[in-house]
């Protein structure tokens, strides 16, 4: 029986090659997109899952009056471990805020992110060097680097460790032993590092009160985390008061400060941080699912449309003794075979498109490695799409009454008509949401790229530097750089406007406290970035006090305090008084998603070590850019005596442009989803209109014989589909509006929802429909009516 059913299925598919290709092709393309989405979502939602107890690990964070942070004091970890038995393990890590150069005679590598962790943390996160994790000496540390580092530093293979390397600028004369290689998939972990230092006590040489550690805890199974959070909060506040903080301090009073953020949440939606990753994963997941559902709808619709062709077969089989369940099973198996073929083609397409996908999302997804879950996911996908696309057609087909169908009465087609129409409307509604969505995303992106950011990064070059300057040696460097023809200004700062977060501290004005972003700068910072002054002046060498106690505020800071006529007034913070000498207009250093933070600019700030003012920026005439960069490269060794080993630079506009990356990804996702949806919908429409036109051949012939013109017939055949698209637009527009509004609400600086994308979606869908249907209808219109009647 199975063999015979298989033959019928294959011969049927072959006989209707066009429909088969459209059916399977559409599904294969959608499946390919969906498989990539499944892989991506799988990758993004399993960060750190290689750690056996990942679901019991939490990062300890703090709520500040003006936000949230993951930085905690080093002393918190041992206190927690001592006080709460439900904590199995505690670990701490500390990021290095500046780059380290590692060099040997053979080569030099810059470690942007050298992570120091204590031994407990290494155990908790399975940070195992290739030769095993060993406890460092009591007051010592062990330095490990990834293989890529070692390959540059020691080109010869099969080395034995430890090996000595220079650390920092060559002339600084510092060195350290590399203990070995550490292999760790940092691209799939919340721990990001270029090199790792493992110590016994990461806070041993640091001020225990300094709030600059990440503290992780691993709790015992069954721990009441909310209760533990509450207990840690109490402990933290007690410690802060013991360290000299007033119980009324707004940093700790009147609210719960400590929160425990599960490790499993840190990548996608950390409590202290943004959830853009989560939004991208969610958007991709929903879009991928929608594309697949559209393709399944297409499949169902086309299969139902073709049921009449199979009616006789069903009738005959029932007469000859087939049960309904036999037939349901037969049709499901047939659809399963088609879905399986679509899946195989889909996998081939995935292999083809995966490199582009990886390029777009900066991932390294592969069908062949690291995706064990695909082994069970693919069969599940296959069964689900078979059921979605197959159950209804199988029920319709198997439900034919033999007494009717063998006489040629196909009344059932009317029963399924409303469903086919509803599916068609759904398909087009989704396509319309995607078209409008894509246009709105693109409009917002265009706005972000063309809107005045308040500064001009185009002429600014950021020079990477690892040396620390004092007033004198910086002035020497500055004087030499300024001599280069084409250089307009040169400055140093603790933060460049590339979206990075600045340190925050409380400042007060006439008793009103406010957390301000603190940025330390040097003379010419504002001029280098082309910032605009609103009141007062920029820092100037003509005023000696500027290097002592002058501040420039931004507009947001002034309005946060509500200061009227701020110039000359005093604000207090970091245990000293400052005089406000200028107010600059707000500029979007953090991009468009967050509002401009109230910010204080100082040349000297006790809260920020002068060593942190090491980022260099130079403003260069556009037409002399190449010459200036060449001169700097050639002379950098002489110019920057402290760190002249390599001249490394980046263009500030490119760095700033990276802030748009996630939104550009979203745009690409929308673009892909829109093209796919339209393609699949049009494909379905093409086959569907071919079917309906074919079914109406007799009607068309009669109408033509009675005098209908070609145009009238074309209008007749189009009118139904135009209604379908009109209804789809009416459904799609409000959905697109709601989704677009919610998305735009995530931006501090955004466009109003424009009208044009909706109209455009309407016009595009209408034009595509009329074109597609008319191509089919034309054949029927041009045919000789006698043939159709004879055929009947």
């Amino acid at each position: 029986m199975f063999r015979l059913n298989l033959k019928i299925a294959l011969r049927n598919l072959w006989k209707n090659k066009g429909y088969t290709a459209i059916n399977i092709g559409g599904l294969a393309i959608a499946l390919s997109a969906f498989i990539m989405v499944v892989m991506y979502v799988g990758f993004e939602t399993t960060f750190d899952h290689h750690i056996p107890n990942h679901n019991r690990i939490y990062l300890v964070g703090r709520s500040l009056p003006d936000g949230k942070t993951n930085y905690t004091p080093a002393s918190l970890a041992p206190s927690m471990k001592d006080a709460f038995p439900e904590i199995e393990n505690v670990g701490r890590s500390k990021k290095t805020d500046f780059e380290f150069a590692f060099s040997t005679d053979k080569g030099r590598v810059y470690g942007k992110n050298v992570l120091s962790v204590d031994y407990e943390m290494a155990k908790m996160f399975h940070l195992w060097p290739d030769k095993g994790l060993k406890k460092p000496a009591a007051d010592g540390y062990d330095l490990y680097v990834p293989q890529e580092f070692a390959d540059v530093l020691f080109p010869r293979k099969n080395l034995t460790y430890p090996r000595l390397v220079s650390i920092g600028p060559k002339n600084a004369g510092q060195s350290a032993n590399i203990q070995g290689i550490i292999s760790y998939r940092t691209d799939h972990s919340n721990l990001k590092f270029d090199a790792m230092v493992i110590l016994n006590d990461v806070g041993a040489t640091q001020d225990p009160k300094a709030l600059n550690y990440h503290t992780y805890i691993e709790v015992k199974a069954g721990t009441d985390v909310a209760q533990l959070e509450h207990k840690i909060d109490g402990l933290f506040k007690k410690e802060m008061i013991k360290n000299g903080m007033s119980a009324d301090d707004r940093m700790i009073s009147g609210r719960s400060v400590i929160f425990l953020d599960p490790l499993d949440n840190l990548h996608l939606k950390p409590i202290a941080g943004n959830n853009t990753n989560y939004k991208i994963v969610l958007a991709l997941g929903v879009l991928g699912l929608l594309v697949l559902v559209i393709a399944c709808i297409n499949f169902t619709n086309l299969t139902i449309a073709q049921t009449n062709r199979r009616a006789k077969e069903v009738g005959v089989k029932k007469v000859l003794g087939a049960y309904r369940m036999n037939l349901i099973f037969q049709f499901l198996i047939e659809i399963l075979m088609q879905c399986l073929l679509a899946l195989v083609i889909g996998l081939a397409l995935t292999e083809l498109f995966l490199p582009y996908f990886n390029g777009l999302f900066e991932t390294s997804l592969s069908l062949w490695k690291g995706n064990g879950s695909l082994v069970w996911q693919l069969p599940v996908i296959l069964i689900v799409i078979t059921l979605i696309s197959g159950v209804y057609p199988a029920l319709v087909l198997s439900g034919f009454r033999p007494a009717d169908v063998l006489k040629g009465n196909l009344q059932t087609s009317y029963k399924t008509l409303w469903l086919r129409n509803a599916l068609l409307v759904t398909q087009f509604s989704v396509a319309i949401v995607f078209i409008a969505g894509l246009l709105i995303v693109s409009t917002q992106l265009k706005y972000m790229k063309t809107e005045d950011t308040g500064f001009k990064p185009a002429q600014v070059v950021y020079i990477q530097n690892t040396a620390w300057f004092n007033r004198n040696n910086f002035e020497q460097l500055k004087a030499k750089v300024n001599e280069i023809p084409g250089v307009n200004s040169f400055t140093a700062t603790s933060n460049i406007p590339d979206g990075s977060k600045a340190a925050k501290s409380n400042y007060s004005f006439e008793g009103k406290e406010q957390g301000l972003d603190m940025i330390t700068v040097d003379f010419d910072y504002f001029e280098t970035l082309n910032l605009k002054i609103k009141e007062g002046r920029f820092f100037s060498k003509s005023f000696n006090t500027d290097t002592v106690n002058s501040v420039v505020l931004n507009e947001s800071a002034v309005s946060a305090y509500g200061i009227v006529n701020p110039i000359g007034k005093t604000i207090r913070g970091c245990k000293m008084d400052y005089r406000i000498v200028g107010v600059i207009k707000d500029f979007k250093a953090q991009g468009f998603e967050t509002a401009v933070e109230p910010t204080v600019y100082t040349i000297k700030n006790p809260c920020i070590a002068s060593t942190e003012k090491y980022m260099l920026m130079v403003n260069v005439d556009q037409d002399k850019m190449a010459a200036v960069l060449a001169t700097l490269k050639t002379n950098w060794k002489d110019l920057n005596k402290h760190d002249g080993d390599d001249f490394r630079y980046e263009f500030l506009d490119e760095l700033y442009g990276r802030l748009f990356k996630k939104q550009e990804q979203l745009q690409s996702v929308f673009y892909g989803a829109t093209v796919l949806t339209i393609f699949i919908a049009v494909l379905g429409l093409f086959a569907f209109s071919a079917f309906t036109t074919n079914n109406r051949r007799k009607e068309i012939a009669v109408r033509k014989i009675l005098g209908a013109t070609d145009l009238q017939v074309l209008r007749l055949l189009n009118s139904f589909f135009i209604w379908v698209v009109l209804i789809a637009n009416l459904i799609g527009w409000p959905i697109a509006y709601i989704v677009a509004t919610r998305w735009l609400d995530t931006f501090a600086y955004r466009i109003d929802v424009p009208l044009l994308p909706f109209l455009f979606a309407g016009v595009i869908s209408m034009v595509l429909t009329v074109l597609t249907v008319s191509i089919q209808a034309r054949k029927a219109v041009k045919a000789n009516p006698v043939d159709a009647l004879k055929y009947e």
Binding site: M1, L4, K7, I8, R11, N12, K15, K312, E313, G315, V316, K317, K318, V319, L320, G321, A322, Y323, R324, R401, P402, A403, L406, K407, G408
Partner: protein
């Protein structure tokens, strides 16, 4: 063999009720060849569908060798049909995607006949129907007469007790039509009971008894003496 009593069948749409069978009483003996005639819409096809268990009447009784068939559920009807009945339709109703051999084999598969036995039975009937050289062809590659031969072969391959034929020559020219009627006669001579619906008095002349229907009633019955004598 068949005893039908007070059979009633009503078709209902939203607005109209049409009585297709109105208290039909009919007896068919084993080995008989009965023709049912009447104008379009008189209920002859409905009667055939009820006899073939393809349709359910509102009321009445239908006994097939002492088994009351109207009390059977769908599955039992299906089982009874495939074991005891064969069908021949006006428009042949062969499955276009299967070859002649496979079309004839289909009822044997539903009757769970083993593969080797199936092959033997199909070859036997193909030979009997004189379509050996067509066994690998698809229905569209055959003439109307040949297609109806295949349909008859399919109806006979399970050796049913009853063959129901619905205007078997309706789509054929006269020479092919006669061929099919002769085939049915031969079959009847070997003991198979046949009930045939037809518009053609010529075709009806091949049967033992002609029953005339009008508006769902049996209005007359005529014995075909020549054929009946043969039967006796």
């Amino acid at each position: 063999m068949i005893k039908i009593e007070n059979l009633e069948k009503v078709y209902k749409t939203e607005e109209i009720e049409t009585t297709a069978l109105n208290g039909i009483n009919l007896h068919v003996k084993e080995g008989e060849f009965v023709s049912i005639m009447g104008p379009s819409g008189c209920g002859k096809s409905t009667l055939l569908n009820v006899m073939g268990l393809l349709d359910k009447p509102e009321s009445g009784s239908y006994k097939f060798i002492d088994t009351e068939l109207l009390k059977l559920n769908d599955k039992e009807r299906s089982n009874f049909r495939k074991r005891n009945m064969g069908f021949v339709f006006q428009n042949f109703n062969l499955i276009d995607e299967l070859t002649v051999f496979e079309n004839i084999e289909l009822p044997l598969i539903y009757n769970k006949v083993p593969a080797t036995e199936r092959k033997r039975l199909v070859n036997e009937i193909i030979e009997r129907m004189n379509i050996v050289n067509r066994s690998g062809h698809f229905p569209q590659q055959l003439s109307g007469g040949q297609q109806q031969r295949v349909a008859v072969a399919r109806a006979l391959v399970t050796k049913p007790k009853l063959v129901l034929a619905d205007e078997p020559t309706g789509n054929l020219d006269s020479s092919h039509g006669n061929e099919v009627m002769e085939l049915l006669c031969e079959l009847n001579e070997t003991g198979t009971t046949i009930v045939m619906v037809t518009h053609s008095s010529h075709d009806a002349s091949f049967s033992n008894r002609i029953i005339n229907l009008k508006d769902g009633h049996v209005i007359s019955e005529k014995i075909n003496k020549n054929r009946t004598e043969e039967l006796i």
